[in-house]
């Protein structure tokens, strides 16, 4: 019975995250439009794009190997998996024990490696260029992300997301300067990982500057759709992670389903704020040269380690 219950929660949450992901993307773009005094395409635009892409034929390059066609499904699958691990509404996730934060980073790595390999598969100059840059950014942001996780991990003395969020959400309030450091670092990592300004510009197709777009240059039709969707889910999950780690208040605890509606409300609010904030950040900052990226990420890495050190020094 309990299993069935938690299974339903699991399913519900995963579905919610996957479904609202494009919405968040749309919302971010809309906010950016407003901030740039444009009347945007509306928050539902991403759904339309996805629908259109699913309609279209797939145009496959000559000599694209099965790996190329398999990759989008894997990326999407991985993101779904992530969505079912990160607690956003309540913390009694059935699947969570299967993977803690370290495994979470692992999943991201899996998806990324496949996308990079697929990009190299066709053998265009841009594909390999994108793969190289993507892997470069990732190889620096991934450790930063882990270090970001380590501070709350040390505080809670656990690496399972359920426990972390439970403890952080339902303990008496205390100030953690170390967490502040991690939060900043996390934001920087979020920008890098989701191919946002200042690392990458999701809106550009100027080959010399693009990273993520270069990766998926060869994709079309349903493959492209899946990838875009996966990207959206990734962004959402990241935001959810940030919320879960640094602002988990109002999340429902194991088994309190009467609190779920509240939790949903709170979540929506937080996501909206996060999206707006993201848009603001992107508008204020400018894209940097590709070789400034290591410095940016190195900064994030440093901040995360500092947070950890501070925790160990001050115990707070």
């Amino acid at each position: 019975m309990a299993y069935l219950e938690s299974f339903s929660y699991q399913l519900a949450q995963t579905l919610i995250v996957v479904v609202i992901a494009p919405l968040l993307l749309g919302w971010v773009n809309q906010c950016r439009a407003w901030l740039q005094n444009r009347s945007g395409a509306g928050v539902l635009q991403p759904y339309r794009v996805l629908a259109k892409l699913f309609q279209k034929d797939v145009v496959l390059a000559h000599g694209a190997s099965p790996l190329f066609r398999f990759s989008p499904y894997l990326q999407f699958g991985c993101m779904v998996l992530v969505a079912s691990i990160v607690p956003v509404i309540e913390t009694n996730l059935l699947f969570a024990p299967a993977a803690d934060v370290i495994a979470l980073v692992g999943i991201f790595a899996l998806a990324r490696i496949f996308s990079a390999l697929a990009a190299m598969d066709v053998g265009t100059a841009f594909g390999s260029l994108g793969a190289r840059r993507e892997m470069l950014v990732a190889s620096l942001s991934e450790p930063a992300l882990l270090m970001v996780f380590f501070t709350p991990l040390l505080i809670v003395q656990s690496s399972s997301l359920n426990t972390i969020v439970d403890t952080l959400a339902h303990r008496e309030f205390a100030l953690y300067p170390s967490l502040a450091f991690s939060a900043v670092a996390f934001t920087m990592v979020l920008l890098a990982e989701n191919a946002r300004i200042p690392i990458d510009n999701p809106a550009t197709h100027l080959e010399l500057t693009m990273i993520h777009e270069a990766l998926i240059l060869e994709y079309s039709g349903r493959h492209l759709a899946l990838i875009e969707w996966a990207t959206a889910v990734k962004l959402t999950v990241y935001c959810a992670l940030g919320i879960a780690l640094f602002a988990p208040w109002g999340m429902a605890q194991a088994g309190q389903w009467q609190l779920v509606p509240v939790a949903v409300m709170v979540l929506a609010l937080k996501l909206a704020l996060a999206g707006a904030g993201l848009a603001l950040l992107e508008t204020l900052s400018a894209k940097m040269r590709i070789f400034r990226a290591p410095e940016f990420l190195g900064m994030a890495f440093l901040l995360a380690v500092l947070g950890m050190l501070i925790y160990l020094l001050l115990g707070a």
């Binding site: 034929d57 797939v58 145009v59 496959l60 390059a61 000559h62 190997s65 790996l67 499904y73 894997l74 999407f76 699958g77 779904v80 998996l81 699947f95 024990p97 299967a98 993977a99 803690d100 370290i102 495994a103 692992g106 790595a109 899996l110 990324r112 490696i113 990079a116 390999l117 190299m120 598969d121 053998g123 265009t124 100059a125 594909g127 390999s128 793969a131 190289r132 840059r133 892997m135 470069l136 990732a138 190889s139 620096l140 991934e142 450790p143 270090m147 380590f150 991990l153 040390l154 003395q157 656990s158 690496s159 399972s160 426990t163 240059l217 060869e218 899946l226 290591p294 380690v305 950890m308």
Partner: protein
């Protein structure tokens, strides 16, 4: 059936003899590749499987010792089989089974004379490694250890007509020998006053603190030289590419682990005590080595060199694990000590699997294309689907992504790091975050390296026309690759069983078994500390991924049409796209070279604006070679020339020497 009644130890000795016999049989008909390939090597592989079985069977048994009727008069050969040996025997047997199976195909297809001798050296190599693992006295250990080095040296110099290979072999044997002398001195110290050479005596001997530390440092030096720990790593990227691929696989996958075995044996078993800074030294050297290795791997253009540097990286990670285990053990925190220990061993066997797999696949590529330079490969996934698929498994495993085995050991190690705070020593607590960062960075960069490795070799367009003729690996080679790939997957999916096995190994040394702690949730999840603290369920994970992917796939298929048409890749309006426009290996490594510039010694050759045929080259070299090895060589020459002055050919001077000697000694008597 004596084999049934025989004790595991006797079986192991039997396999050693069996391998030696196979090797000698190779000399019978050295010019018949198929005789070697179809008969001897498969037999050797069978021996490996038996060895692995024995390892599994005896890993939990109490230790057994025997005395052989060989050796020095007062020092017959002692052999002993305990958990640690059994585990490494399992590693050796498992990996060598796959490799021998592959070698069966490899040596049979590559037509060259002298394979008979190679067969002898190959099996002699296997046998000596086995003896290293079961040796129970200093003399037998040293004999086995040096014969191992010797056999591998001869294997490395199989193509001795190529000068580079000769010098590589020379460097290898030299460093191996110097390291061996270090180990010998370490044993000389541990004999203590009693003057006994058996390990039993050393276990019981009580050493003063100072001599204990001397012994440990000598051991770290000696075994580090074999394992490729900085700064004794220089032989590794030279020797591994030089050797035939099965041999590189054996050396990198198994031989390096014997060094780890020796280090563990000396540190945790033979030395009566440990000191916390021993652990710190191991940790520091390990992490530096790991970062160094992965950085250099990223800029390599020779696929086997790349893998060799990645071996250096993995060895670094393993040694760091050893250091962590020592630290926890000293501050008796048995739970974490056990965790670190298990993580170390786990990474050993993982590395054995995926590194052997990758070296073998490079062997197939080399064999099919006669090409080791990444700059001239590419697109092989179309010609060699089997090799491509199997080595993809290895690539993902070594990149440390779930649910494959590379991730499990990294996960365990990170757990150990993660829960290390709370040590009574504040400096160590400061050290932990930094070292964690280093470890994580190394792991992430290895992902970069592996994408480069796989992408440049197998994906994209063929960089050379003749790559079209490349054929896929033969049946035996495939079987060998598949065996190792299965190993990677199994180790990744069923960690719980493996960890239970490893507990039997670590229990005697750290008195704790992380397998049966409260809250370890069944066979599905591994929860080394406690389920609510940290847990990882690779099988669930795999099911999740597969489920999600299938679900997506089916839904997409069900909801929408599957229409698809082929066309040229988009060329951004530039029609003459060709294979040369893809990233070369240099290109792919260039960002790393730029970011970590100070660590390399880069020799650039830039074209001038007026070059008719402009050429660009940037060679990244090892600074340590110029800082450490070249000066030593120079000093040696200088010293030699100074001493050479002694002998100027004048007989009067010689007479003067003896006259002076006489006078001085006479004064000495007064």
């Amino acid at each position: 059936m004596p084999a049934v009644t025989a004790s595991p130890l006797e079986v192991v000795l039997g396999i050693v003899l069996f391998w030696l016999a196979i090797g000698l049989a190779g000399l019978l008909r050295p010019q018949r590749p198929e005789f070697l390939g179809r008969l001897l090597y498969p037999l050797g592989a069978a021996g490996g499987i038996v060895l692995a079985v024995v390892g599994v069977a005896s890993i939990a048994l109490p230790w057994k010792a025997m005395v052989l009727p060989l050796g020095l008069p007062d020092l017959p050969f002692h052999v002993r089989l305990d958990g640690l040996s059994a585990f490494f025997l399992l590693l050796l047997g498992g990996a060598s089974a796959g490799i021998s199976c592959y070698a069966a195909g490899y040596f049979a297809d590559v037509k060259q004379s002298g394979w008979g001798l190679t067969c002898l050296q190959y099996h002699w190599f296997l046998a000596s490694m086995t003896m290293v693992l079961i040796a129970d006295d200093a003399y037998l250990f040293m004999v086995a250890w040096e014969s191992m080095a010797l056999a591998s040296y001869f294997l490395v110099t199989t193509d001795h007509k190529i000068p580079e290979i000769r010098s590589a072999g020379f460097l290898y044997l030299l460093i191996a020998h110097v390291g061996a002398i270090g180990i010998l001195l370490c044993f000389g110290v541990m004999r203590g006053e009693g003057g006994e050479y058996t390990f039993d005596f050393m276990r019981r001997a009580d050493l003063p603190l100072f001599w204990g530390s001397v012994a440990y440092l000598l051991a770290l030096f000696g075994f580090g030289a074999k394992a490729g720990l900085l700064p004794m790593h220089v032989w590794l990227p030279e020797a591994h590419p030089a050797a035939p691929s099965p041999v590189s696989a054996l050396m990198s996958g198994v031989m390096l682990k014997t060094a780890i075995y020796g280090l563990l044996r000396v540190t945790f078993d033979l030395l009566p005590f440990q000191i916390w800074w021993w652990g710190v030294i191991a940790l520091a050297f390990g992490l530096i080595t790991a970062l160094f290795g992965v950085m250099f791997a990223a800029v390599q253009t020779d696929m086997k060199r790349l893998l060799a540097y990645s071996s250096i990286e993995n060895i670094g990670i393993i040694v760091a694990g050893v250091g962590l285990a020592i630290i926890f053990h000293v501050y008796d925190n048995p739970r974490l000590a056990a965790l670190a220990f298990v993580a170390t061993l786990y990474h050993c066997i993982n590395h054995a699997c995926f590194k052997s797999l990758l070296f073998l696949s490079t062997g197939s590529v080399l064999h099919a294309t006669r090409e080791r330079n990444l700059g001239r490969l590419g697109g092989l996934i179309r010609n060699m689907p089997w090799v491509a698929a199997l080595s993809l498994v290895g690539t993902l495993a070594i990149a440390g992504v779930p649910p494959l085995n590379g991730f499990v050991s990294e996960w365990l190690l990170l757990q150990a790091f993660l829960f290390s705070p709370g040590l009574p020593n504040p400096y160590l607590n400061m050290l932990v975050p930094v070292s964690t960062a280093a470890l994580v960075l190394a792991a992430a960069l290895s992902g970069y390296v592996m994408v480069k490795f796989y992408g440049v070799i197998f994906l994209g367009l063929r960089r050379e026309e003749r790559l079209i003729e490349a054929h896929d690996a033969g049946r035996w080679e495939r079987a060998g690759l598949a065996w190792l790939a299965v190993g990677c997957v199994a180790l990744g999916i069923f960690p719980v069983a493996i960890i239970h096995m490893l507990d039997a190994v670590t229990l005697p040394f750290v008195n704790y078994a992380i397998g049966e702690n409260p809250g370890a949730a069944g066979w599905l999840l591994i929860a080394p500390i406690a389920a609510e603290r940290a847990s990882y369920g690779p099988l669930l994970f795999l099911m999740g991924v597969v489920g999600a992917v299938l679900l997506t796939f089916l839904t997409v298929r069900w909801v929408y049409h599957g229409r698809l048409r082929r066309s040229d890749p988009w060329d951004c309006g530039f029609p003459e796209q060709n294979a040369r426009m893809q990233d070369t290996a240099e290109g792919f490594g260039q960002p790393i070279k730029q970011i970590f510039e100070p660590f390399f010694r880069i020799r650039r050759h830039l074209p001038s604006p007026f070059d008719a045929k402009p050429s660009y080259s940037a060679i990244a070299e090892d600074r340590l070679w110029y800082w450490l090895y070249v000066p030593v060589a120079r000093a040696n020459e200088k010293m030699a020339s100074v001493i050479g002055m002694l002998q100027r050919g004048r007989i009067h001077v010689y007479l003067l020497y003896s006259f002076a000697t006489l006078i001085v000694l006479l004064m000495f008597v007064r």
